[in-house]
Symmetry: C2
């Protein structure tokens, strides 16, 4: 089993363009029990360990109102991943991608100051946080409707 | 109703750190019927218009095998959004965020060369593509299990 950054059979490395089309700012840090990629779950589970998402300033006030959601979508930066594989083994939902952004749906356990406690993550301890959104399934826009909301296929 | 880049009542602008913690490469371009933010749906619907996700080289070979999935997760760059609001109105799942990455779950209609046809998007025509993954609900890792897969809360 090969799990670190080597290229595996069936994988193809490309000359990747420089990743400078847009820039990210890390808005927090994710604390989990997993310190090796060989130990992390491949998919989080909502009955998994409680993990702590630490939010950095100046973004902490953005947590206001987040406790009204049971589930959150977490976007994070898979900082240890290589970015130049175009064909992968064994599957497409891997940390190795041109833009190594991971997404998880997690269960909100609670908010403690600048920390959001959740279950359902599958990333390494120290993973940089990119975004935190309400789960789209639970989200109903409060704003007035607009035309595209009702547009369907011809 | 205010929908472009002005600051609304209840919103707070912060001095945002420079977005240079990580860089993105745009791997494609999303073609939709919507050319104004005032017309786009706030949430995509799977019976919505068929949209075309164009993949750029050198990433086209990565589409191999994608047609085995009915649903895909699409990550895109909300290129017209401001990034410096910390408190927002009326809700948290808005395009205005420190890292303006949108995510949608879409229904795969078909793959035509370098183009992936889907239903369920809610973004503007010309939105840059950041990532395309199999829907996590449909994804079962093929790799052998590892310890974290079975870890639950104490």
């Amino acid at each position: 089993m090969v799990r670190e950054s080597e290229v595996r059979a069936g994988e193809v490395v490309v000359e990747a363009p420089p990743p400078d089309d847009a820039g990210l700012v890390f808005i927090g840090c994710i604390h989990t029990p997993w310190t090796s990629r060989l130990m992390t779950p491949r998919q989080g589970r909502v009955d998994g360990p409680v993990c702590r998402i630490e939010i950095f300033e100046p973004w902490v006030p953005a947590l206001r109102g987040i406790d009204q959601y049971e589930r959150l979508e977490v976007l994070y930066w898979l900082h240890l991943s290589r970015r130049d594989l175009v064909l992968q083994s064994p599957k497409l939902r891997t940390p190795v991608r041109p833009n190594p952004i991971g997404t998880s749906m997690v269960k909100l356990v609670g908010v403690e100051g600048a920390n959001v406690m959740v279950q359902g993550l599958d990333c390494l301890d120290g993973t940089p946080l990119v975004d935190l959104k309400p789960d789209r399934c639970q989200f109903t826009p409060l704003a007035p409707p607009q035309p595209g909301d009702f547009e369907v296929k011809d």
